[in-house]
């Protein structure tokens, strides 16, 4: 089945992803987090003991489902291609940058759209930063940026990440080895089977439709092609209806309880780093998981960078805090970006510029012949 030969089919794919996200929110995932790749990878890193932030530790079956859904559908349709070798360590760094930028804003591009659909004006402001980041990445592409070509590898290499995800699923369902949050966002989740099913469905739809948040804006800028943005529009529409219907739509900037902050400059800069790094890495966090599922070792390395970035964020105090209500006094406590987070964000943007303008096609070291 070709989901991308018409805009209507792409829109339906986006609606399908939106329905899955809405179901997950309905069945217990945190408010307007629903299906945030960065948040869920961060939770998974906590469950594996890579960081010790107690409120954000849970091996999210959605992440496992995304990779396995992409793996199964690509294997069944003959699209599984084991490949790699396109500057893997630079991709690892880009994965870290994407995660650090996401946790300064408090959400990946997918959650940014979900937050936008819930009336969060901060997310609309962050969209400016994200689009500017993608535009800067496009400028670098026009100037000849390249991480070099990927080469075919043995099948085993492409299967490693799906196999690791299957292993985490076994640990989650059959053992007590993983860490679980008793309070906070990590403690809020849909039942495992529903989460896994949601991940599998979105994994299949995203693999077939090539859904990508950074790619959508990149294609619009470079080619005036709006196919990938059609998918995002479908997802946004479903989540908007869901939020309005369930009373979760709150238009505002300092809304307590939705795990967001109103530090405008850093919302913009955080998502700027994400958009920039995502174009350089060839896709947003969701797309990296999907590509890893269909055999790309380069994307698998980027995913490892996401996990490492999540661990750094919580071990070194880079992650921002969300606006919340003090349970004792009833006062609204504004969320904030930490000093360490601000420094890290500036470093991340600088690193993106260095990567973007020092890795060129036809460079002397021949990375991209």
């Amino acid at each position: 089945m070709n989901l991308s030969d018409s805009k209507l089919k792409l829109l339906i794919a986006g609606i399908g992803c939106g329905l899955a996200a809405a179901c997950l929110a309905y069945f217990g995932n945190p408010a307007n987090m629903a299906f945030c790749i960065a948040c869920f990878v961060r939770d998974m890193a906590g469950a594996l003991g890579l960081h010790s932030a107690a409120p954000v530790q849970y091996a999210r079956p959605e992440i496992i489902g995304l990779v396995l859904g992409s793996f199964v559908i690509s294997a069944v349709t003959g699209e599984f291609r084991s490949n790699g070798g396109s500057s893997p360590m630079i991709r690892f760094i880009l994965g870290m940058v994407i995660m650090i930028g996401s946790l300064i804003f408090l959400g990946c591009p997918l959650r940014m759209v979900i937050r936008m659909s819930a009336g969060d004006i901060n997310a609309w402001i962050a969209l400016i930063g994200f689009a500017c980041g993608v535009a800067t990445g496009c400028f670098a592409l026009k100037k000849g940026f390249s991480l070099g070509r990927a080469y075919e590898t043995g099948t085993g290499s492409g299967i490693v990440l799906p196999a690791l995800m299957a292993g985490v699923l076994i640990l989650l369902t059959c053992t007590t080895l993983l860490k679980f949050s008793e309070a906070g966002p990590g403690s809020k989740h849909a039942p495992i089977l529903i989460s896994l099913a949601g991940g599998l469905v979105v994994g299949v739809l995203a693999q077939k439709s090539r859904m990508c948040f950074a790619g959508g804006i990149r294609d619009a800028i470079l080619m005036r092609n709006f196919d990938l943005l059609t998918i995002i529009a479908g997802l946004f529409g479903v989540m908007l209806i869901f939020n309005i219907a369930t009373g979760r739509f709150v238009l505002g900037m300092n809304t307590p309880g939705i795990i967001a902050h109103s530090d405008t400059l850093w919302n913009i800069l955080g998502m700027y780093a994400v958009g920039f790094a995502a174009v350089l890495a060839g896709g947003c966090p969701l797309r990296q998981l999907i590509l890893a599922g269909q055999g790309s070792s380069d994307s698998a390395v980027t995913v490892l960078g996401l996990f490492t970035g999540a661990a750094l964020c919580h071990n070194f105090g880079l992650a921002s805090s969300g606006t919340a209500v003090n349970a004792e006094t009833g006062e609204v406590v504004a969320g904030a970006v930490t000093a360490n987070g601000k420094i890290a964000c500036v470093i991340c943007i600088a690193v993106c510029f260095i990567i973007a303008f020092t890795n060129k096609r036809n460079s002397k070291r021949g990375a991209a012949v």
Binding site: D5, F145, S146, L147, R149, D219, L222, M223, K360
Partner: protein
């Protein structure tokens, strides 16, 4: 009104940068064509491809070989 699809030449590359180099090359030499997302029927990847009229194949092949631009594949698709 929907544009009628016609058979086109689609050249794919190993990297996005190569596809963009192809676009620049064609602009310089006045060869018609444009960048498009790699059609889903060709690949599950999300790179860029160069789309041109089928009749331009030999001209494009010559231009690519002159500057040593390595293509991944040449396809004929309804675009």
């Amino acid at each position: 009104m929907l544009r009628k699809k016609t058979m086109k030449l689609v050249i794919t590359f190993h990297t996005t940068a190569d596809a963009m180099a192809m676009e620049e090359l064609c602009k310089k030499r006045g060869i018609g064509g444009r960048l498009i997302p790699v059609p889903r029927s060709i690949s599950a990847g999300c790179g860029l491809a160069f789309c041109a009229e089928e009749s331009a194949l030999s001209e494009l092949e010559t231009a690519m070989s002159e500057i040593g631009l390595d293509r991944e594949g040449v396809h004929h698709c309804l675009i």
